[in-house]
């Protein structure tokens, strides 16, 4: 297996498979992604975008694309009123090659300046999913 490559060029594309329930025109619904971490395949280590398709899941025959340069701006979510400023969550790509998928990576969120945490509250997760889905586009329309 290749070693971890933390360098993501802005021109690099990230791909994820989608079903017809997860698109609206050329846009991706927020319900198609998850947070605080969402899996993608890196174009840098993928022979072609179609490699994200899994024959075992025939309804997920579409492909969504996110350019690294289009990563969302940090989202701010207000917590309890009068308890200080809202927490700001930044998006960043993380290279996570797997034995059966060397192109595997994740787009994650973390509170700016703090380490990644596997759990966030529902409101943060929904706001972050909306933000992540916004710059994503349909690369191959699902049928």
């Amino acid at each position: 297996m290749r070693s971890v490559d933390p360098c993501f060029a802005k021109s690099e594309a990230l791909y994820r498979r989608i079903s017809i329930d997860q698109v609206d025109g050329d846009r991706i619904l927020a319900s198609a992604v998850e947070m605080p971490a969402c899996s993608f395949d890196r174009s840098k280590y993928s022979t072609r975008p179609e490699s994200v398709i899994d024959r075992a899941k025939p309804e997920f025959n579409g492909i969504a694309k996110l350019m690294v340069g289009d990563m969302p701006a940090p989202v701010s979510v207000f917590g309890v009123p009068d308890k200080g400023p809202p927490a700001s969550y930044e998006f960043y790509p993380e290279d996570l090659p797997e034995p059966d998928n060397e192109a595997h990576s994740e787009v994650r969120i973390r509170i700016s300046g703090k380490p990644f945490r596997k759990r966030v509250n529902d409101r943060v997760a929904v706001a972050a999913c909306e933000a992540l889905a916004a710059p994503m586009r349909v690369h191959t329309p699902p049928t």
Partner: protein, 193 residues
Amino acid sequence: MTSVFEPTATLGGEYRVEQAFESAGATPKRTRRRRRSTAQRTRSLVFVQVPLENSGRPVFRIRFAPDWIRTAQDRLAKLGELRGNWDGQGAKKPTPKSLEIARRVLARLIDFDCAPERVVAAVRGGISFYFVGRELTSGGAHVVYASYECGNSGQLLRVHGDRSKGAVDVVAVNPLDDELGESIQLTQDHLLG
């Protein structure tokens, strides 16, 4: 759809369904041709209790249910059968809590005749009701949209989005009837622009 029957007496049980058909003379053609059980027909109707001024008696407005209700109910039942990793990418299955909240939301949507564009499972877990306005972007997506996110934790969140402005508003909603009803009205206003 149109109201077909407004009895001023309190009617009970499935009898009122039969009476509604007979009184209104509006039995759907399909029901006339194929004899179906009363229970099956009951699912094709919606009962809405409305107050009658200057009378202590309730009024039941009975109307034929729009097709979207049956579609949404069937869809919700199907989503309840999903297993974990249903997308092959680690998607979480909807929990009983999220399904319970989703049923509450659907019941209120029926009251407001507010049809979702689709009812889907969210990859992060839970059920999502997705609504759209009329205007489309150049890419064929709806400019204005909304969703009700019934989370696996049991929390209900309302999302109002406008793609032309890049604006998204996420608000927690109490799924109790009054607040949810007010929220649905706000969503209808948002979708109408």
